[in-house]
């Protein structure tokens, strides 16, 4: 089978189960693709061919004996902030360049027990702080649609790897849009579940109250399959929710007739590129054709998302990143003179500029005398945003709008001005602040660059959100497009 890479994850899983091909064949083929394209894309930080082939062999044995799980033999990649025992987990940072985790993240363990074969760890913005993958210590990732452009971030490596069909699916995390924004910019499907749906245990923390693991795949059906195996309560994560995981795959084919779609007034604002808006409006017509109805809704506090996010996330990050002190693991400076020197130089050398900026911002907003004005106020506004969403979901089933204001932008275009970069997450941050499930699916192209459509649902409505995305993908083929040079 020569066209492994143009098959979806769902098709590959079925093909393996039917023993049309072996996991070793598939793994070899994709490892070869990774090797061929790594130089151009820089999507991976670590590739683990030996472990992958060993896992593929054991998957083949399981399949031969009629055993195995839903993903047995299916190659995937993990964003390099999921801890993987024995394989280094860098988080895109010099600080963790030498860090080999002694344990597996819950997500990693779950996907392994479902039979998935890890090919490697994907590149990312340092500590998941960034929207362009340019803050990685390992260099930027290139957008497979145009190597002069960014893939988005922070899960840029996972998104580029899936878009270039180096892997059929990859894990990712989304703190302010880090799954959906790169999905949109790379023309693939990116699903961020409800906060608490996927265990954070073993995910290197950026902003604990916002971080949520999810998936990047070619289609919503693939996302449903992969997420079903990742999700679920984990006693090791106090914020994970003890609630059964529905069969997202089984729910994909539900009819959409009668679906009430809310159009967020605040998403169709002056910041939205006109052509992007056009693609989104065309997509909405597809939903209408499926029997869904549209109505405009307003979330008056939503425009405050970005400032709220850039108080809350750095505050939590400043504390979460305090453990990187050069004492027990990670980067340690050469011959420290004393304790303060050890701290200063280890952290000074280990962290990049964006991480330092956020640690300083976070430290500032939590400081005595500023806490009330920044952190506390941000949390209050966050509660208002959450209430806005809940009110909106009283009258609509899902909210649909653009994922990003523009398609992919050029490398270096926004690095000089953090605020411009931050505004790229303007449509995605709301779902993080409110902990809502949201998916981005490709809905067309603007000047040969993919445009993302975002579907946001109420808490724990993953099945409905994926169902809507899948219905759209049954009538469109944007998600099947593969960038030239990777077909």
């Amino acid at each position: 089978m020569a066209d492994f890479h143009s098959s979806t994850l769902t098709q590959l899983a079925a093909g393996l189960r039917a023993r049309h091909f072996s996991s070793v064949e598939l793994t070899r083929a994709l490892l070869a693709r990774i090797e061929r394209h790594q130089g151009a894309l820089n999507a991976f930080i670590s590739v683990t061919p030996d472990a992958a082939l060993a896992a593929a062999q054991s998957a083949d044995r399981a399949l031969a004996s009629g055993g195995g799980g839903a993903l047995t033999g299916v190659p995937i990649a993990h964003k390099d902030l999921f801890c993987t025992q024995g394989v280094r987990t860098t988080c895109g940072s010099r600080m963790l360049d030498n860090f080999v985790s002694p344990y597996d993240a819950t997500v990693v363990a779950k996907l392994r027990s479902a039979g998935a074969v890890m090919l490697g760890k994907t590149n990312m913005d340092e500590f998941a702080m960034g929207s362009s993958n340019e803050t990685s210590y390992y260099g930027p990732v290139r957008n497979p649609w145009n190597p002069a452009l960014v893939p988005g971030g922070s899960s840029g490596g996972s998104a580029a790897a899936v878009a270039a069909r180096l892997v059929p699916g990859a894990t990712a995390t989304d703190t302010g849009g880090s799954i959906r924004q790169p999905a949109a910019l790379c023309g693939i499907t990116g699903m961020k579940p409800t906060y608490g749906r996927v265990s954070r245990y073993g995910m290197v923390a950026f902003a604990s109250s916002l971080d949520q693991g999810g998936v990047l795949t070619a289609s919503a059906a693939d996302a449903a399959l992969m997420l079903r195996e990742m999700a679920g309560f984990d006693a090791a994560d106090s914020t994970s929710v003890d609630r059964p995981v529905p069969d997202y795959v089984a729910a994909l084919e539900e009819p959409l007739a009668g679906l009430k779609i809310g159009l967020l007034k605040e998403f169709f604002d002056k910041g939205l590129d006109a052509q992007n808006e056009q693609r989104v409006r065309e997509a909405l017509k597809v939903f209408e054709g499926l029997g869904a109805s549209l109505r405009e809704v307003s979330l008056p506090h939503l425009p405050l998302s970005v400032p709220v996010y850039y108080v809350v996330a750095p505050a939590e990050a400043s504390s979460n990143l305090a453990r990187y002190d050069g004492v027990r693991f990670g980067h340690r400076c050469q011959s420290p003179r004393d304790l303060n020197d050890l701290y200063r130089r280890s952290r000074g050398e280990g962290f990049g500029a964006e991480v330092k900026r956020r640690i300083m911002t976070g430290t500032y907003v939590l400081s005595a005398g500023y806490y009330d004005a920044y952190y506390l106020k941000a949390q209050r506004v966050r509660a208002l945003i959450n209430a806005d969403f809940i009110r909106a979901f009283g009258s609509v089933d899902v909210l649909i709008g653009p994922t990003t204001p523009t398609p992919a932008f050029a490398l270096g275009a926004k690095t000089a001005d953090p605020i411009t970069m931050y505004l790229n997450d303007i449509y995605t941050i709301g779902a993080n602040l409110a902990g809502l499930p949201a998916v981005s699916v490709p809905c067309g192209f603007v000047q040969d660059l993919p445009v993302g459509l975002q579907i946001v649902g109420p808490h724990f409505s993953e099945a409905r959100v994926l169902n809507a995305a899948h219905a759209f993908q049954r009538l469109t083929d944007w998600h099947t497009r593969i960038p030239a040079g990777f077909a």
Binding site: P102, A105, A205, S209, R323, R328
Partner: protein, 479 residues
């Protein structure tokens, strides 16, 4: 020093007697080799998350109920951020604005027997830090994270203590209480129970609090008393010479018997507290709180009141006997086995027994002298087999040989003489041998009565029943 009033508030840290840590499954046993009781959560590895130990919550609630405090239905863990090598995450998980226990109180007994109620502002749950090790490590600092994540309850008093003695009485009271509740082993050498003292002085009669110094990490009652007294003297000396006290953290040096500055307010950390997003708020319902209440033992004050009423003891004696649950249980076991004279039992437990235990630095729970055995001795006093004086000799033999009272009495022939005829015969011999003393006594020298008692006791080997002897001797001397 007159004209000054001392104001003290204590922050007591009691290590909760859970089997595992507050946010991880590691053991909490004391004395293990460095870092063998530190797992990835305790080490603050990337990606790990805390999970609250329900047993620690239960213990904190138990404490709150025992001090008549308000148990928070909703309490929140917060991060206290600062860098230190023995603080692996760069923050300590504690409780800040919303502690689990608030507004309780305890009663202490002052020297004159007067009672004073001390307010307890709050008690909150938190994790302990690790330890930095210097001994035997020239040029480097070792880090032992076995203690990191050990559950603590920090009990914060109101600044209502007015002397070092009151502070010690309060600390002892809390110590007694946490051991009664079985939420802390109270072991001060191992650091399971320690305190920080906030000390200030002000002119008597004024309301405004003086500038305070915080003396850190006092781990014995004696150190608390000495450190506070030294600190009070130091502050008064400063103020009387026209200076002003600096708000700072100080350390007590037990070798020099003084406190010295550790860091000033300006150097203090800005801890940047904020709610820990990795932990959900602790939500407690009435049923849970009641289920904890049902596990409360009889508390020290209740027990003392019952002892005083049921056994006819003074408030002081009842207080001493209930200072630990083990001692109280021991006393009650003695009384149960020898119910004739609870007051006598109290005297023996607080006197001979306490002295013997003290001498060998033993706790009553060590079982060196079972309660039944002491009761056996008291029974022999009660049935006049031996006198109280002989009983002390018997006690010593019981203690050192680990045998019962009867065995000692029989072996040494100490059975008291209660046969009137035998005592009379001994008296007659003594009177006959001391005609001069008899004459003097009869001439009015009453003091000689003691001489005759002594002689008869000598003649009977101390075994004559003292009451009988007195009575018979008096009538014989009268002639």
């Amino acid at each position: 020093m007159s004209g000054w009033e001392t104001v003290i508030g204590l922050e007591i840290h009691a290590q909760l007697a859970t089997g595992s840590k507050i946010f991880s499954g590691s053991a909490t046993a004391y004395g293990a080799a460095p870092n063998v009781q530190a797992n990835l959560v305790d080490l603050g590895y990337p990606g790990v998350l805390p999970v609250l130990n329900a047993a620690a919550v239960r213990m904190a609630v138990k404490l709150g109920l025992a001090i008549d405090a308000r148990i928070a239905r909703h309490s929140v863990f917060a991060r206290k951020n600062y860098f230190y090598p023995d603080l692996p995450k760069g923050y300590q998980i504690s409780q800040y604005e919303l502690p689990i226990v608030a507004a309780g109180s305890l009663e202490i007994v002052l020297e004159g027997g007067e009672r004073k109620r001390i307010g307890i502002t709050r008690a909150h749950l938190e994790e302990d830090a690790g330890k930095s090790l210097h001994e035997g490590l020239p040029g480097v600092t070792g880090i032992d994270l076995n203690r990191a994540g050990t559950p603590l309850v920090e009990i914060v008093s109101e600044p209502e203590l007015r002397s070092a003695k009151e502070a010690v009485a309060y600390m002892k009271k809390v110590h007694t209480l946490v051991r009664y509740l079985e939420i802390c082993d109270g072991n001060m050498q191992e650091g399971s129970f320690r305190c920080d003292a906030n000390v200030s002085v002000r002119r008597a009669g004024t309301d405004k609090l003086g500038t305070r110094a915080e003396i850190k990490n006092l781990n014995s009652f004696r150190f608390v008393e000495r450190a506070i007294n030294h600190e009070v003297d130091r502050q008064i000396a400063i103020l009387e010479s026209g200076g002003s006290v600096v708000q700072e953290t100080r350390l007590y040096d037990p070798d020099k018997g003084e406190t010295r500055a550790m860091r000033s307010k300006e150097e203090a950390n800005d801890y940047r507290y904020f709610p820990d997003p990795d932990l959900l708020p602790v939500e407690l319902d009435a049923a849970f709180i009641e289920s904890v209440r049902a596990t409360l033992p009889e508390l020290p004050d209740q027990k003392a009141a019952r002892f005083a009423a049921a056994y006819g003891l003074s408030a002081y004696d009842a207080g001493v006997l209930t200072a630990s649950r083990e001692l109280a249980d021991y006393y009650e076991a003695v009384v149960q086995a020898a119910p004739q004279d609870p007051k006598l039992a109290a005297n023996w437990v607080m006197g001979e027994l306490a002295a013997a235990l003290n001498k060998e630095n033993l706790d009553v729970s060590a079982g060196r002298l079972p309660a039944e055995r002491l009761a056996g001795l008291l029974a022999r006093i009660g049935d006049r087999t031996i006198s109280g004086k002989i009983a002390k000799e018997v006690f010593e033999a019981m203690w050192s040989q680990g045998v019962g009272a009867d065995a000692v009495i029989e072996a040494r022939g100490l059975r008291q003489i209660t046969d009137t005829g035998a005592i009379e015969r001994a008296i007659d011999v003594v009177i006959g041998a001391n005609p001069a003393q008899l004459a003097e006594y009869r001439a009015g020298k009453d003091k000689l009565f003691g001489f005759f008692v002594g002689q008869v006791m000598k003649a009977t080997g101390g075994k004559a029943n003292p009451a009988q002897l007195n009575e018979l001797l008096r009538s014989k001397l009268r002639g």
